[in-house]
């Protein structure tokens, strides 16, 4: 079990509680299940790495339990009860410097749990409003989290001062009929080198907020498509964002000017989760059509496609996709694929030579005619 789990570079959770690890080298998905009895209660809603070394996965299920999965051992090591199913499902999971765990439920209760001692009582609790759709942790400052939801704007919280949000976004200006604009934050991400946060909404908008400025309204607004955007991810470059909507359209947007750079084709169902590779220009997407697809961001071509035995997991509900860091063994195969871009310069050279020859021959013909 341990060896198959070590092979997997992409991890997904499914609707039936099965954790699927996908090995891209073998183009195969492996199932890891806690109990022999599958049930819809165990639907995986949130997934995150337990530690920076990426050796443990924290899996949050609908019934309020958070399970720890060890990648080395290939099995679930412990289960913690972190909240009632009555609160709603998990919308975010994050781990704080090893021992603590931050969970956020749909009803808005954000709780910090300590591993030692406090089994049933959270160490800190705060209310992030109603109908929260997503909670994300800042990669630079682990004690900062952002939440957002339906009619619940973006709020950035500092867990050390849980009374008031550090930044609470204002809704957009009223539209041309003076009607209040509805807001529905579906997903957000912290932009690495600055304070900015980018969010995507259910009204097909992408907003960038800058807490360092006094402006509480979005600094940049981009519209894409006609369907709600469900997932968001930041590629390694820094100026772009990849978004996916309920129709299976994935696009790369440039945040400098707010233009659509290009779309990634192939998905047939709504996008549930997007994850970019931390250093390479690759993005993994999974959706309701039960396929995991890896696209290259440079030429927007699909590199890998793995069928996730829906069936069960019907990875129909697959959530976050996480990728391991530059693990040479695993990403070697990816490098092979990337050889094709290297060929491009040579092709271009050949093309140029041919053109020159053609031009020469044309000139000769013209001379002949004359």
């Amino acid at each position: 079990m341990g060896d198959t789990s070590r092979l997997c570079s992409v991890w997904l959770g499914s609707e039936t509680g099965i954790l699927k690890g996908v090995s891209l080298a073998r183009k195969q998905a492996f199932n890891f299940c806690n109990t022999s009895h599958l049930s819809r209660d165990q639907e995986v809603r949130a997934l995150c790495w337990g530690d920076p070394a990426e050796s443990e996965l924290l899996v949050g299920s609908v019934d309020g339990t958070v399970k720890t999965f060890s990648v080395e051992k290939g099995a679930f090591t412990e289960t913690r009860r972190c909240g009632d199913p009555a609160d709603g499902c998990f919308v975010g999971l994050a781990s704080l410097s090893g021992s603590a765990l931050v969970t956020c439920a749909e009803c808005g209760t954000l709780r910090v749990w300590r591993e030692d001692g406090g089994g049933s009582e959270p160490a800190a609790e705060l209310d992030a409003g109603k109908n929260v759709c997503r909670m994300r942790q800042s990669p630079v400052h682990p004690h900062k989290v952002a939440t957002g939801g339906k009619e619940n704007g973006l709020k950035i919280w500092d867990l050390e001062k849980p009374e008031k949000p550090v930044f609470a976004a204002k809704n957009l200006r009223d539209d041309w009929l003076d009607l209040r604009r509805p807001q529905w934050v579906r997903d957000m991400a912290f932009i690495p080198d600055s304070d900015k946060v980018v969010t995507c909404t259910g009204y097909h908008q992408v907003h960038v907020f800058d807490p360092s400025t006094p402006q509480r309204r979005p600094v940049l607004e981009v519209e894409y498509g006609e369907y709600p955007l469900t997932a968001l991810s930041l590629p390694a470059g820094g100026n772009a964002v990849v978004v996916g909507n309920t129709h299976g359209q994935i696009a790369m947007l440039d945040l400098r000017k707010g233009l659509v750079r290009g779309a990634l084709k192939g998905l047939a169902g709504g996008v549930r989760a997007l994850q970019c590779h931390p250093s390479q220009p690759l993005v993994a997407s999974c959706g309701l059509d039960r396929f995991l697809r890896i696209h290259s961001l440079e030429d927007r071509k699909p590199q890998h496609k793995v069928y996730l035995k829906g069936g069960a997991g019907a990875t129909g509900g697959a959530q976050e996709v996480k990728e391991e860091d530059d693990d040479d063994d695993l990403w070697e195969t990816m490098e092979r694929v990337e050889e094709t871009p290297k060929r491009k310069p040579t092709e271009e050279d050949e093309g140029i030579e041919e053109e020159e020859l053609q031009k020469k021959s044309k000139k000769k013909r013209k001379k002949g005619k004359d």
Binding site: T246, G248, K265, A268, G269, D289, A314
Partner: protein, 354 residues
């Protein structure tokens, strides 16, 4: 006349092909004499006709008249293959050879050449069995609910659509037709759920002809949107039987092999009650071929153990799936499990989704 015609035509051909005939004789002679001559082979290829190298095609002959003649000959041969005489001859040869006959060539069809779909469901797969056991249709397939169908149309339907709805209601047991009255579907759905309906069918009309179907499974089930084509009402059916009775029909679902096909198949199956009344001898068939679902409704009678007679009753129509959405009807904010993206999916003629 007959006697004279033949030599005339030969002469004509002879005149045009004088050079060729002369060459033919010489070449055939050479051919007979030299069986292994490598040097002269190239010459033969240039001039000859009877012994063509395998990669030769008619279009390589530069002379238009000769090319035309060769092409006509080719066409005649092809036509001959299709004739009855030719087939009979082949059969006789086959019988004569007996066991040594080469195997019959299976003609290539698009269904034969279908690209293998990795989402094809394996009947013994546990994961899929579990998934299907706990999905939205589980209540129906476990016998807990009986189907109750509400059929309606888009606003202000005209003749054909109204008659189509009425006929559908006779085909599907426990179906009720209601006039739309311009109501919003999102408001109708909670009311249907309150009145224990399990299905909502909305037939969309365009220019007095039904062209779309929205099939929504009610408590919280998937919504499928189809395109309808070739609707034939009862009056237009040839050799049809009498009107269908109130008995529940049997349901036949053909060729729904992929995971998506399974979902759609279950969607259709859950429209009809679980126990068919065999007394009624009626059967509804949903046949999937090349992503088109053909609906037929028949009455059958067994004449003896091996022979069945069927009468087609009821409407017939063809459906093509356009999108499958998770949850009840919500085209703006719903999540789609599958959307038909024509330019991406219809690019390969041999790849099908259902």
């Amino acid at each position: 006349m007959d006697i004279t015609e033949v030599p005339v035509s030969q002469d004509n051909k002879g005149k045009k092909k004088k050079n060729k005939k002369a060459k033919k004789k010489s070449v055939s002679q050479e051919g007979n004499e030299e069986s292994g001559g490598v040097e002269t082979k190239e010459e033969k290829m240039e001039k000859s006709e009877p012994a063509f190298p395998p990669t030769f095609s008619v279009s390589e002959i530069k002379n238009k008249q000769r090319r035309h003649l060769m092409f006509m000959k080719l066409k005649q041969e092809k036509r001959k293959v299709k004739t009855y005489k030719y087939h009979k001859k082949e059969e006789k040869e086959r019988e004569a050879l007996g066991d040594k006959a080469p195997p019959k060539e299976v003609p290539k069809t698009i269904e034969n050449q279908r690209v293998y779909d990795e989402t094809t469901v394996d009947p013994e797969d546990e994961e899929i069995a579990f998934d299907e056991g706990t999905d939205e249709f589980s209540a129906y397939f476990n016998g807990l609910t009986n189907p109750k169908v509400l059929i309606t149309t888009s606003d202000r339907p005209r003749g054909r659509t109204v008659r189509f709805c009425e006929q559908l209601a006779t085909v599907i047991p426990n179906a009720h037709v209601y006039y739309r009255r311009g109501l919003a579907l999102k408001r109708i759905i909670p009311q249907c759920i309150a009145r224990n309906f399990t299905y909502l069918i909305v037939i969309n009309e365009d220019r007095k002809v039904p062209n779309g179907l929205v099939l929504c499974h009610l408590p919280d089930g998937p919504t499928a949107h189809f395109k309808i084509s070739s609707v034939r009402l009862r009056k237009e059916m040839k050799r049809r039987g009498k009107d269908p009775t109130e008995h529940s029909p049997e349901v036949i679902l053909n060729n729904f092999t992929t995971r998506l096909g399974h979902s759609i198949g279950r969607l259709f199956a859950a429209l009809f009650p679980q126990d068919p009344q065999f007394v009624g001898r009626q059967v509804a068939t949903f046949h999937n071929q090349r992503d088109f679902v053909f609906f037929r409704f028949h009455r059958y009678i067994f004449k003896n153990e091996k022979k069945v007679g069927i009468q087609e009753l009821g409407p017939r129509f063809t459906l093509k799936l356009r999108s499958l959405q998770k949850g009840t009807f919500d085209s703006k904010f719903g999540e789609y499990e599958w959307v038909l993206k024509r330019h991406e999916m219809d690019a390969c003629r041999r790849k099908f989704q259902l």
